[in-house]
């Protein structure tokens, strides 16, 4: 038993012991409610998706058709789109987030750390619908006018790799979705990294400086080895965010149920197809069941990612 738990009960105070039992039961009940909530979410999505799982079986996961007319539904394209956009977003976000965290912990002058830290945290607080509008009205034109033609010119002829950067530069598509996702998860990853970098005991860093290490060498040889697991946990946390992001992606991904070889091509994600198609699905239809089944798949994927992230981010036991 931890020293925080107070086992003492005032002698003879009936009302006190009744109040204690009531309050304790309430607290415990609230705790159990959280577990019930998680169970209810999983079960409700699974039961809702059951007709679809029954109709299509395991091939549902790889089937790439989404055809309401012939009542054929498959999760292949959205699952692919979800994984590809999220991983691309991580690829772009992790180096930037690391740079920000490094700047905030080791480089920035003291008076500058707090304002910049708060600004980065505000970036995390901006609602995702705002990112969607910003992406749609600001990023998409820039992508189609400058970035995508530039990438085609520069990389389009490279063997194998080039195929990723060909195609019409519409501005919307997988790459733009990944970019907006990256912007959204940078503050989460950066804030987590900053917090774990702060946990490194100063004496470790001071010893390294003492033998003549540069700031970067302290970072690479002391801070990163010490915080490696938590850093990976922070990255997984960002990945978990990216996987389920809905509004921002829906605005910029192009919403087409197709897998294209080009990163400029339109696509969809689980969250975007659910957001778009759910309101126009009839209650009890196979389409609705398939969307709930997609929701179940997304929940399983993000639960695994977030669970790993939490395990890695657990504070080390002294």
């Amino acid at each position: 038993m931890s020293d925080a738990v107070i086992p003492l009960r005032p002698a003879g105070s009936r009302s006190g012991s009744f109040g204690d039992r009531l309050f304790g039961a309430l607290a415990r009940g609230a705790g159990v409610l959280v577990l019930v909530l998680l169970g209810a979410i999983i079960v409700s999505l699974f039961i809702g998706g059951l007709p679809s799982f029954r109709a299509f079986g395991l091939p549902f996961l790889t089937e790439t058709d989404w055809d309401p007319v012939h009542a054929v539904f498959g999760a292949g394209v959205p699952v692919f789109g979800t994984l590809v956009t999220s991983l691309l977003a991580l690829l772009m976000a992790v180096p930037l987030a690391f740079g920000i965290a490094f700047y905030l912990t080791e480089i920035a002058p003291d008076w500058f750390r707090r304002p910049v830290g708060i600004a980065i945290e505000l970036l995390a607080a901006v609602p995702s619908i705002i990112y969607g509008m910003w992406g749609f009205f600001v990023i998409v034109p820039v992508m189609s006018e400058y970035v995508e033609p530039f990438l085609t010119d520069w990389l389009g002829d490279v063997p194998f790799l080039g195929i990723l950067f060909q195609g019409a530069p519409f501005g919307t598509g997988i790459l733009t979705a990944a970019l907006v996702l990256a912007v959204m998860i940078i503050p989460f990853i950066a804030a987590t990294m900053r917090d774990v970098f702060m946990t490194v005991p100063p004496v470790f860093k001071e010893s390294a400086y003492g033998v003549g290490c540069t700031t970067w060498e302290v970072m690479r040889s002391i801070v990163i080895p010490y915080t490696r697991t938590s850093v990976v946990g922070g990255i997984m946390l960002g990945l978990g965010r990216a996987l389920g992001e809905t509004m921002a992606v829906t605005f910029v991904i192009g919403n087409t149920n197709r897998i294209t070889s080009s990163l400029f091509g339109p696509g969809n994600t689980i969250a975007s197809i659910v957001a778009l198609e759910f309101p126009e699905s009839q209650a009890g239809s196979l389409k609705l069941a398939s969307l709930l089944a997609l929701g179940f798949i997304l929940f399983v994927i993000s639960f695994i990612v977030l669970a790993i992230s939490r395990l890695l981010l657990r504070p080390r036991t002294a």
Partner: protein, 295 residues
């Protein structure tokens, strides 16, 4: 240890080699620092770009009619009144439902179950829910409150938001209660106070600012949530504050308007986006700066 730190391992025989290595290490350090500073500048530039776009597009579209008129068909100069009120109602009720639950869960984790298996499970699940895709919360509430009762409703939206509020309040409540010194609790117990009175009158009071911060952050988070409302309160272009009817909300209206082809709707979407972002960021700044003066 890396090759670049080699000179530190022993006295360098070749002074010129040592000097060049040391120059390289310093040069490399400088490059990394410049890159990291650049990364931070990019981050700040992104925030600036978002805020600038919002102010530039939103201010022009703001006007009194936004607050006094309800949403109307394109071309007839409507406002956002029903969406603003709907958002406030749902955020308020969602927070009012979610906060007490989150508070009790946080209390359970900090005061009753610090190291128990059940407590660890609850803490873990709550942390996972904190980052769970909000659209799935919407689907979940759809299956329990919309499909069985045959219609979208404001109350379903409130419940969806409440589910999002709970883990946020849990996290801050537990963290804040854990910061309270044991001696404070012991002093109260020594005076004969039962445990529940110690928690309510000593611990909650001492942690009040921190808990309030959590609630404010939760309000800020759900005020901008769109995805969980799409399948629950749905949105409503008419005036309605009935909790059993579909209810408008600012984020959902922005979503519908921003993607439309009508210029006045897009303008209203920007006005709404500016309002919501200003509100959310103001709440965040109050929560972070005013109520938590430490770094």
């Amino acid at each position: 240890m890396s090759a670049t730190t080699l000179p530190a391992l022993g006295p360098a025989r070749d002074a010129r080699l040592a000097a060049s290595l040391s120059r390289r290490r310093k040069w490399f350090d400088r490059v990394v620092k410049v890159l990291c500073t650049g990364a931070t500048m990019i981050g700040l530039a992104l925030l600036a770009s978002i805020l600038f776009t919002l102010i530039w597009r939103g201010f022009g579209a703001l006007g009194l009619h936004v607050f006094t008129d309800i949403t109307r068909p394109p071309g007839s100069h409507g406002g956002l009144l029903n969406a603003i009120v709907g958002s406030q109602v749902q955020t308020l009720i969602g927070t009012a439902i979610g906060t007490p639950v989150g508070l009790m869960v946080g209390t359970y984790l900090a005061e009753y179950a610090r190291d128990s298996a059940l407590g660890n499970a609850v803490r873990f699940v709550s942390d996972v829910l904190l980052s769970a895709p909000s659209i799935l919360i919407g689907l979940f509430v759809y299956t329990i409150l919309v499909a069985p009762f045959g219609g979208f409703s404001g109350i379903a939206g409130c419940v969806a938001l409440a589910v999002i509020v709970v883990p946020i309040v849990v996290r801050t409540t537990e963290d804040m209660l854990r910061l309270i010194p044991i001696s404070l609790r012991e002093a109260a117990v020594a005076l004969g106070a039962p445990k529940w009175r110690v928690i309510v009158f000593i611990c909650y009071r001492a942690a009040r600012d921190g808990i309030a911060t959590g609630v404010l952050l939760a309000v800020a988070r759900v005020a901008g949530e769109t995805a969980p409302l799409l399948f629950t309160s749905l949105g409503n272009l008419n005036w309605s504050v009935s909790l059993t009817q579909p209810m408008a909300s600012l984020p959902v209206t922005i979503y519908q308007y921003a993607g439309s082809a009508f210029e006045d709707w897009v303008d209203l979407a920007w006005a709404g986006a500016l309002l919501i972002t200003a509100g959310v960021l103001a709440l965040n700044i109050v929560a972070r700066v005013a109520l938590r003066p430490r770094a």
